[in-house]
Assembly symmetry: C2
């Protein structure tokens, strides 16, 4: 059975404008060629400490337990739920998209009694609906919402909901997978108790790590559980013993994926150098230009005005246009990857990411140029240059 013929590894050079991963800076990728260290090497401890420091800055938090989980964003989601829910606990979960549904699914597997607050896909959740759900239960353990719904492109305001969590004594969990590094996320100021994200979106680190933070009150909940966390791999009380900053008594849990940590560190260092505010402005400017271009082409944006992400834009596929064909041609002829609709929105939407290293003027212009051309060839009437023109005007504002 040894006569296998490995593929010659030669992946094409894509422009990653889907819902993630975003493109990764060459500087971040070459960090992965640095010498590998063991998980107990003092030199690795220094890199861990610098990583947690940089990550705190991005989450805008002083939370001691702030570190990257050794798995993808979905491992972060699971960690954010399974550590805090014990069988029978009540979780109120806002659902206005595919990833809200996922939180419901995972909370259910952890034994939560889930109270779903259903919202319209494409619109933010209403604090009133959330309060009604919180009020209907004697004791709510966890209130969870998605900050940036990757399936719809909606940005959820958080400050009012956070006050409700405090008022009803629930831990406030926020999914920042598609916002962190592209939109402001103020964990401390906004009263967020627990948050997870993904490395490969606004942070533009390779996929494979889940940035995580929780405050001491939330960690105490984990440490005072009556039952053990179902997942040993994601048990925060064990993980915190290894990631404890400045500690000389770190306890082995699993072998740290050191090269992923190098890349993650370097991506965070680039964010520190750019500055958070400048980074958010860049995302805002490019996102607005893309959205102006799409609307000028007569297309309909899916997310409600005023609540649109700059990291991810969702747009309705015009009637009569072949979803798969357009995406295949974007990929084949322009090397541009965008995303299709998820779940109930399959075939109805395109999702265009402008995150981290992928959020550039040139990507906005090239994409609008390519889409305009392909749509015209699909029979959709569009004036040549109208999308690109609107984007340029938006960029020069």
């Amino acid at each position: 059975m040894s006569d296998v013929f490995p593929l010659k590894l030669n992946p094409p050079n894509r422009i990653l404008m889907g819902p993630g991963p975003s493109n990764v800076s060459p500087r971040v990728q070459s960090a992965m060629t640095a010498p590998l260290l063991g998980y107990f090497d003092p030199a690795f401890f220094k890199i861990m400490d610098s990583t947690t420091n940089l990550l705190r800055a991005v989450f805008q938090t002083r939370n001691k337990l702030t570190f990257p989980i050794s798995g993808t964003g979905m491992a972060g989601m699971e960690a954010g739920i399974c550590n805090f829910i014990e069988p029978g606990d009540v979780a109120v979960i806002g659902v206005n998209g595919f990833f809200g549904e996922r939180i419901v699914e995972i909370a259910g597997r952890c034994g939560a009694r889930v109270v779903k607050v259903a919202g319209e896909w494409g619109k933010p959740l209403e604090p009133e609906a959330i309060e009604a759900a919180l009020k209907s239960e004697k004791k709510v353990k966890l209130l969870a919402v998605v900050h940036a719904e990757t399936s719809t492109g909606v940005l959820q305001p958080l400050t009012e909901i956070s006050k409700l969590a405090k008022k009803y004594g629930a831990l406030f969990l926020v999914d920042t997978v598609t916002s962190l590094g592209g939109h402001e996320v103020k964990v401390d100021d906004w009263g967020i108790d627990i948050s997870y994200s993904a490395s490969q979106k606004g942070l533009s680190s390779p996929p494979g790590m889940a940035p995580f933070t929780c405050n001491d009150a939330a960690l105490a909940v984990v440490q005072n559980r009556k039952t053990k966390v179902s997942s040993w791999y994601l048990d925060l009380s064990l993980l915190s013993s290894y990631w404890s900053e400045g500690s000389t008594a770190r306890v082995y849990h699993h072998t740290a994926p050191a090269l992923m940590v190098y890349a993650f560190h370097e991506a965070l260092a680039m964010i520190a150098e750019e500055g958070l505010e400048a980074r958010f402005q860049r995302h805002l400017r490019n996102g607005a230009a893309l959205q102006a271009g799409l609307e000028a082409m007569g297309l309909t944006l899916f997310a409600q005005k005023g609540y649109r992400l700059s990291t991810l834009t969702s747009v309705r596929i015009p009637q009569g246009v072949n979803d798969a064909k357009v995406r295949q041609r974007l990929l084949g002829e322009y090397n541009i990857e965008i995303g299709g609709g998820l779940g109930a929105l399959k075939g109805q939407l395109w999702r265009i990411g402008l995150m981290g290293y992928s959020s550039t003027e040139q990507n906005v212009l090239l994409f609008l140029y390519a889409l305009e051309k392909l749509l015209a060839e699909e029979g959709y009437k569009v004036e040549p240059g109208v999308g690109v023109g609107a984007a340029v005007r938006s960029l020069r504002k």
Copy 2:
């Protein structure tokens, strides 16, 4: 909070001779600088298919479900247990080391009723003891053993135990974390139903992936569960929908850590080029030379003769010698990392890995030279060159 000062990433060049990670070939590391692909890119599907093919060859299996899990070896362990155990199921688990204990811990969290078969640390498990445990229960769901105990350096023979699993109708789970890629692992011929490993040991891929395989019968057990798998992230029925080979209808589960997959693919390609048999012989030869050298120096090997791993050698720390100091000096003066004792063996053992890219003649010779010198300086009487000499004679046999 943006005034953080990132560390300049400049890790030292270590010789990784601990229990893992092993060193990684420059070819494997530079694979991680290839262009990043999205998880639904047809070009990535080809890399996935080639990866599963190469991994089947190393596991010596035709199992359809053979793929790397997006987490470290411990995620593999958890996947190997949580998918197959439902609350109340009986698991018979062989425990003759730290990692057997971990399987017990994780199985307990999954709700298993665990029957522990305790064996002496440093010796293999006796099939008789395992049979007694199997016989004592009406229905055993899972029988689990560790092939290569990383805490003791013992290689566990599997064929007899496998027959017992069949005889008593239990799924046979084998931890091949420290054997795969360095020792023979014949999943199909040995009747192993489920096996997981780690990327960073015998395979010499960076840490962060857990190679996994299970046969159709085991997968059917997952698909016919009465309860959902507690971990959504590690649910094999979902993961198999994404990793299904040659499928055009792959279902999104999580964003694949593409750069880790590239590295993993390249490490497997290097194994295919070396040839499995040649690779096992290299490990055997270097492991034997190391062990000959240590014994010539008057040191006591911990694992029972005849059952010693070539990937990992455990040796007793001589009386009066300072464990931490010797390891610190090995690291500081020679850049050599080795491991200390785990769990009950803390302070009693050193664990020296010779795995994958780290299993070389030069590493054996340098390590013995360095250890001899440091031990002499610690007051342990040892004739200069006796260890290295014995290793050379062993290598030239």
